[in-house]
Symmetry: D2
Amino acid sequence: MPSIDLNADLGESATAADAAADHAMLALVSSANIACGFHAGGPYTIATAVERCVALNVAIGAHPSYPDRSGFGRRFLDATPDEIYYDVLYQIGALDAFCRVVAARLRHVKPHGALYNHAAVNTDAADAIARAVHDYNPDLALFAPPGSRLLAAADRIGIFTVPEVFADRAVNADGTLVSRRLAGAVLHDPAIVAERAVRMVLQQTVTSMDGVEVALAGKTLCLHGDAPGAVTRAATLRQALEAAGITVAPPSRDHDDGN
Amino acid sequence: MPSIDLNADLGESATAADAAADHAMLALVSSANIACGFHAGGPYTIATAVERCVALNVAIGAHPSYPDRSGFGRRFLDATPDEIYYDVLYQIGALDAFCRVVAARLRHVKPHGALYNHAAVNTDAADAIARAVHDYNPDLALFAPPGSRLLAAADRIGIFTVPEVFADRAVNADGTLVSRRLAGAVLHDPAIVAERAVRMVLQQTVTSMDGVEVALAGKTLCLHGDAPGAVTRAATLRQALEAAGITVAPPSRDHDDGN
Amino acid sequence: MPSIDLNADLGESATAADAAADHAMLALVSSANIACGFHAGGPYTIATAVERCVALNVAIGAHPSYPDRSGFGRRFLDATPDEIYYDVLYQIGALDAFCRVVAARLRHVKPHGALYNHAAVNTDAADAIARAVHDYNPDLALFAPPGSRLLAAADRIGIFTVPEVFADRAVNADGTLVSRRLAGAVLHDPAIVAERAVRMVLQQTVTSMDGVEVALAGKTLCLHGDAPGAVTRAATLRQALEAAGITVAPPSRDHDDGN
Amino acid sequence: MPSIDLNADLGESATAADAAADHAMLALVSSANIACGFHAGGPYTIATAVERCVALNVAIGAHPSYPDRSGFGRRFLDATPDEIYYDVLYQIGALDAFCRVVAARLRHVKPHGALYNHAAVNTDAADAIARAVHDYNPDLALFAPPGSRLLAAADRIGIFTVPEVFADRAVNADGTLVSRRLAGAVLHDPAIVAERAVRMVLQQTVTSMDGVEVALAGKTLCLHGDAPGAVTRAATLRQALEAAGITVAPPSRDHDDGN
């Protein structure tokens, strides 16, 4: 029976409106990436986020970032591999403390924003992140783009990898995402996005911007929760997946997963 | 054979001069309290501090603070017990991550500055800290003033307590410290300070500002490393302790300790 | 012809939803208090906020806070008067730079959250704030509660004072606000709030929680923009003021104001 | 009569040892670059630094940085030109407030660390900084490397430029600094450094690493204060300048300066 993990970012704002959106997204996903205080969030938002994940049985992940609150972690910072290792380690440990005290389990790590994008193409940064995750707890999973340096680094060091795909982003013929600076990079039609999601799971393919059929094997699908209408789109996507007989569940580590 | 723990704060600055002073102090103490990023320090200073403690076989402790970098954690902040609990938990977890990856053990927690002072006299704050320490890891020790609310809270929840005393501070007739705002609150003469330290350990007494003999049972003695001449004074004190046949070692949990 | 200033806080979040709410509130008020980076906001939110105020002809004010991002400036911090003076000065200067480069004028200062509340009752804090405002620019106005220490300090040093009142808060018989910890402290019915606002302006009185008629002379009325339904309530209030023949405009410094 | 400005960074640490070093350097320089809170410092260190500059008659400058406290502003951050403009503007305004309240004059701006290095070679960043300085106050001077994009941007927008040179750094044949990653990039011999400084001022030349005579016209010479022995080396350099008949004074804007 086909299955996919749905993930969303959590705990990135302390305002009432954002907390409500967080709550709505949590009802739709199977994994959450919780902001650890470097691009957003802090002890109080973490505590709330962990508590909600436990209540809704959502798998808890760390969402570490470059230390860049004013830029929301979206800007490349020329940190050394050691600095990246220590920054990621600090954030994982801080978040895990909140899991421990409620007897929850930290399940995965998904780097945020510019750190995620940089580690996708830079081996030194990728190795630093993979080492931090592995050294902290070799049972943690790492979310990373299919075919990326980050995924390769995680494979090398021997931690569980979860390739992440996006149903609402146009892709190039090599499977990489089309830059947001180009027109058409982001897909807005809920029906088209849902259809792509279903095909990604059932056939592990996607149609590129140029009309080419591209193989793309994802185990988790990212839902964006911070744009107007995001919750509604996410709900449409989940309904389409379920209508197609797809189970939504955290990434499985079973042997027949091929990992 | 009499023994005492000597502790000092660590990792509170990234400058070369301060790092050198840190290093010198580490050679003299048996326990170190490492800044966790809320009043000072951060991932890189933590990594260095943990590495040095391991190299010099110094027991590692967390030194959590109110979130107040601009005031170095020295100012009371009217945080709720929940906020204190989450702030302390976050800092312990972040620091512990650095211990885990080098297979070192986090041994104790000593709150910093205004948080330490407030928890000494406020039961709600004391309980919040003791709970955070206990919930994270019930084997951690908590450093706190003798007779304080913080010590009582730790006793109640059942974690190991380490009463902390100061050889370079004048005390009142009830054993509490004389306020720094009063003349004579801080003792500067290395010989007098060393003599008080020896007597604190061997006789568990100290002479108050008014000349009264006060019972004061400490298991750890705080050495200040951040003032001019501090390292020299600390060395004098340690030599006096050893000359008096006192062993310097981390707090023991043996049953005959009376705990 | 009766008139009142309406003020709201601005630039306290970088999320799209909050920016939209900010924009809607700006169309309703005559003065805005812009977060300066210590409890919320930063260079980019300030730039946007100043630009919008200019476009909508809203008077620009600084909204300085204790340095407490994780607590949103809502927690008392035991800062010295010197620290308060420097913190406020820094924030006013930073914000004013954004006014200068677009040839706009900084008009007023309204302390935020716990700093506002503390200065209302503490003369040392009040004097520190009034001095910072005065020393930076003696033409700036200071928003403060009627009868407060802060208002008195501003009067003493000779800057223009603007007493601030709240139509959606219950008041005690002495005109002070009922603590939010008590039931009934916040009024939610838009019609009642609007009616109180009109009476505050036309008759300079308000009915206390105990039914006593209280004299309360305000020159600015604070509108809260951050709760669900806030914009709608604010629009209702403004319509009621205008229907009663009241002009909404920044605080006037005319002599017949009695200042 | 030949003259040169000597500049040093100020207010980058709150520790007692660093404050003492700051104080010693201030007695040797004619211009100081004060940290504005983004890589180091804050309201309290700024207040102290401005006060000391006034007492010692040292020209006051702003030392704005990327927002990167954990990396001390030494790491490139991929900020947009608008973000750079706003960050620099915020920091200049904050610092200037402290000048205004003591009736001192802010004289110059020297970008810090990675921001300085990036703007030296990137026109967009250079323009953003030059615009921020100009828009805030067109009378401010901008310190920048000779031949840099930053200097060119300042020239274009019409603000006073002060080319900055380093006597303790090896230079390439084109006058640029030898990368610190190469051996020999930093010169440590006080006599050699002093001799280079004198020749830079009197002959406006320097010998490159390869032995080539390079023309290098500086109007300010940077003294590093944060390394062991720095104050002694700076004193040696200043004595050598004075022995050679060179006046140490802030950059002159006289017409015969050629600007």
